[in-house]
């Protein structure tokens, strides 16, 4: 009897532990299912706070915009180039631009990006043409695990990489990453303190489950921010690389329909001025638009040997300063 009493606390403790565990795991799961913006991945909260804030803002604070979005309906034009840009403004700013022969984009603090995009529609400062590896001497790659793969297996060590496994557009600027010999830094610190000629971005596979409009808005915001830090750099938005057919058919959010929809939006960011769009899927996908069977073990990441396809595609599609505005 004495023994039983001696040991009773032990079992109470173990039982309590198990109970705690049960509820905590269940609780976090429930949270994830019903409140996706609290989705906990590893240590960081991603795809979350901003999307919630944006949704609230859109629906409560700015009803006009929200209703506008709903009325438009058409998926491709949910964020249409807004009607705020009057034709007068456009012609005025394009006149200003036309006299410049150097692509020194005017500072755009406070101005909506759409104005700039609209204003610069017909101009071309850079032409797309094959380049060699030295083209990337002043380039930086911003991206998730796929860009980590590019860093490890491209063999290109003349450029910089701001890449981390699990990176998303929501946390890409403030995520704790290692950069060269520096163990802890953020893309914000690096991009705001050094000068680059080209910034390549590929982000979006991790946040495929988040709202597409929020994603696109955040992307616009990041591109805008990078342009402020790097006014002389071109920003190359790379379309999200697609996934294998099997993954695409079975995964609720990481599928090629979803990726294509996002890529179509990303393509609209290109302004033929300092933002360009590239779709590496042309190099790695089969005729059905899926990541080619046999190129990947997990249907998401290329085998190391196929990173050359990505590299070759980037080399084929360099953006070289043209100087002439047509």
């Amino acid at each position: 009897m004495k023994k039983i009493f001696q040991r009773a606390p032990l079992f109470v403790f173990i039982y309590a532990t198990l109970l705690f565990m049960f509820f905590s795991t269940q609780f976090s799961r429930t949270l994830q299912i019903y409140f996706p913006y609290f989705a906990v991945q590893g240590d960081t909260i991603v795809a979350g706070v901003s999307s919630m804030a944006d949704t609230i803002e859109q629906t409560l604070l700015n009803p006009r915009k929200a209703s506008h979005t709903v009325v438009m309906g058409n998926e491709n034009e949910q964020i249409a180039l807004p009607d705020v840009t009057s034709s007068g403004e456009v012609s005025e700013s394009s006149e200003v631009l036309s006299v410049m022969d150097e692509p020194t984009p005017t500072p755009i603090y406070g101005e909506p990006l759409e104005d700039i995009i609209a204003a610069s529609q017909p101009s071309t400062y850079y032409v797309e043409q094959p380049v060699d590896q030295s083209y990337f001497n002043d380039a930086v790659f911003l991206g998730d695990s796929r860009t980590v793969g590019l860093q490890l297996y491209s063999g290109w060590d003349n450029c910089d990489y701001l890449a981390d496994v699990g990176m998303t557009i929501y946390d890409c600027l403030d995520r704790d990453i290692s950069f060269g010999d520096i163990q802890h830094t953020t893309a914000r610190e690096v991009l705001s303190s050094s000068r680059y000629g080209k910034v390549y971005i590929m982000l979006g596979i991790n946040e495929c489950g988040s709202n597409i409009n929020t994603y696109f808005e955040k992307y616009t915001e990041v591109v805008d921010q990078i342009h402020r830090w790097q006014p002389d750099a071109i920003i190359v938005v790379q379309g999200i690389m697609k996934v294998g057919a099997q993954k695409s058919a079975t995964h609720p959010s990481i599928n090629n329909t979803n990726i294509t929809a996002r890529n179509e939006k990303l393509a609209t960011l290109a302004n033929d001025w300092y933002i360009y769009y590239l779709d590496i899927n042309e190099a790695v996908c089969d005729e059905n638009g899926n990541l080619t069977d046999g190129y990947s073990f997990d249907q998401v990441h290329l085998y190391a040997k196929y990173y050359s396809l990505w590299c070759d595609y980037l080399l084929e599609h360099g953006f070289v300063f043209n100087g002439v505005r047509r």
């Binding site: 023994k3 079992f11 269940q26 490890l152 699990g166 050359s308």
Partner: protein, 452 residues
């Protein structure tokens, strides 16, 4: 919610064990049966009826054999029919119902065949109680990955479960925690190393990484399997059953044959009792021995999977075991320390090689992996190799690798299960909390929380 999800297992135990312990003895078997059935039914409701019908068939055949104990012809027919039926069911379910396989169908089949043969050979009398029999077949702690138990061994427990005492309960919990730690802290972490290597593609890994991943996989496999077995033993202990142990520090073996006497022991035991000895065993001359060994290993290969690589794996092992029984026999008799040392080295090289055959389903890929192991660049040109990849992996995984190496020795089992000092409780708690932390942080299901 999948069956192999550890959360599910924990919840199940959490609710189930206390109720079971408190129930009166008479009701316990029924409650156990209900639990096992729930386990299967939750896993796959569509195959559940097939399972029940199958159990009923085996049960009735057993009773028929007992009833007509003097009609040898009829008994032989029943036994043969039964065995063929079980094998057919297993093969069909593996080949045609890939998404609807019974969990642990191999273990299930093997035990039923053993039961048929035991009854046929009059080693046991057939079970007359359907509840007892169903409990034997479906006993939920062992359905996933064994251990394989013969009816004889568990019969007395089933008829009259031990009184659950607190000390047994505690031992069960400790065993369970140890198994869970092996699985969660070591195996599930090392899984990512092997997964990473596969994602990179074998053609692009450096030679040091090939070796690293080979040893890492060997440990991952051991701790995964040993972890599940210990968890099963632990849960069974909590319920008052004793299941046989499945592993006895196999990586410390001094020969391949010894390795397989210490690795997945219950399967080895099964093959010994139902294939090796009936075919002649080791007592009837070398020729018979080799023949029975070959049969055992070909069947082992088939049991693990119907693809070519498992056959490859089994035949390689067969080759080395035969080598040990013939050419190396004299060397192995020596008791010099140097010889022991080299025997350890030999096991620790050959066994990981064979695990690679086990792990890589595609023969061509297997070939590529071996060219990377020996850096045979002329046979297969490596592409886009990152010279320092193994350093990256080492810096990520060294704690788990070192922990794994330490746990290959029987240290943890000794400390946590066999001794009963207060320190062991403390370690158990600590391990438990580490497991909880890891499950919370990473999730148990590797595909659920993975980041790209």
């Amino acid at each position: 919610m999948t069956f192999s999800d550890i959360n599910f297992l924990l919840i199940f135990i959490l609710i189930y064990v206390p109720i079971y312990v408190l129930l009166p003895m008479k009701i316990k078997p029924y409650f156990l049966l209900a639990g096992s059935m729930a386990f299967y039914a939750l896993n796959d409701i569509w195959l559940f009826p097939v399972l029940l019908i199958n159990i009923l068939i085996v049960f009735i055949s057993g009773i028929l054999e007992d009833r007509f104990f003097d009609k040898i012809g009829l008994r032989r027919f029943i036994t043969r029919f039964g065995i063929v039926l079980q094998i057919a069911l297993m093969v069909i379910s593996i080949l045609f119902f890939k998404n609807h396989t019974f969990i642990g169908v191999g273990f299930f089949t093997v035990q039923l065949i053993g039961y048929y043969l035991d009854v046929y050979r009059n080693n046991i009398s057939a079970c007359k109680n359907i509840v007892t029999f169903s409990n034997y077949v479906m006993f939920f702690p062992k359905v996933l990955q064994g251990p394989i138990v013969s009816f004889k061994d568990i019969e007395s427990d089933l008829k009259m479960p031990d009184k659950v005492s607190l000390s047994k309960l505690e031992k069960g919990i400790r065993t369970f925690i140890l198994g869970m730690s092996f699985k969660i802290i070591i195996a599930d972490r090392l899984y990512y190393l092997w997964n990473g290597v596969q994602t990179v593609g074998f053609q692009s890994i450096s030679t040091p990484l090939a070796w690293l991943s080979m040893y890492s996989y060997s440990m991952q496999l051991y701790f995964d399997f040993q972890g599940y077995s210990l968890m099963a033993i632990g849960v069974a202990q909590m319920l008052g059953f004793s299941l046989p142990i499945n592993f006895r520090s196999p990586y410390l073996s001094k020969s391949i044959s010894e390795f397989y006497r210490r690795w997945h022991m219950t399967l080895g035991e099964w093959f010994k009792n139902y294939v090796y000895i009936p075919m002649g065993g080791s007592k009837n001359g070398l020729k018979k021995t080799l023949l029975s060994l070959s049969a055992v290993w070909i069947l082992t290969g088939l049991w693990h999977g119907l693809t070519l690589n498992f056959m490859f794996w089994a035949l390689t092992l067969l080759f080395f075991i035969i080598l040990e029984k013939t050419l190396l026999k004299k060397v192995f008799k020596s008791e010099r320390k140097v010889v022991y040392f080299f025997r350890h080295v030999y096991v620790l090289i050959i066994i990981p090689f064979t695990w690679m055959m086990f792990a890589i389903g595609n023969i061509e890929q297997m070939g590529i992996f071996f060219t990377r192991l020996f850096n045979l660049t002329s046979v297969c040109t490596p592409l886009n190799v990152n010279k320092n990849d193994y350093l990256n992996y080492l810096s990520d995984y060294w704690p788990y690798l070192i922990g794994g190496i330490i746990c290959c020795f029987p240290l943890m089992e000794e400390v946590l299960v066999k001794t009963r000092i207060y320190m062991t409780r403390f370690i158990s708690f600590a391990l438990f909390w580490v497991c909880v932390y890891m499950i919370m942080k990473n999730g148990n299901n590797p595909f659920m929380y993975i980041n790209f």
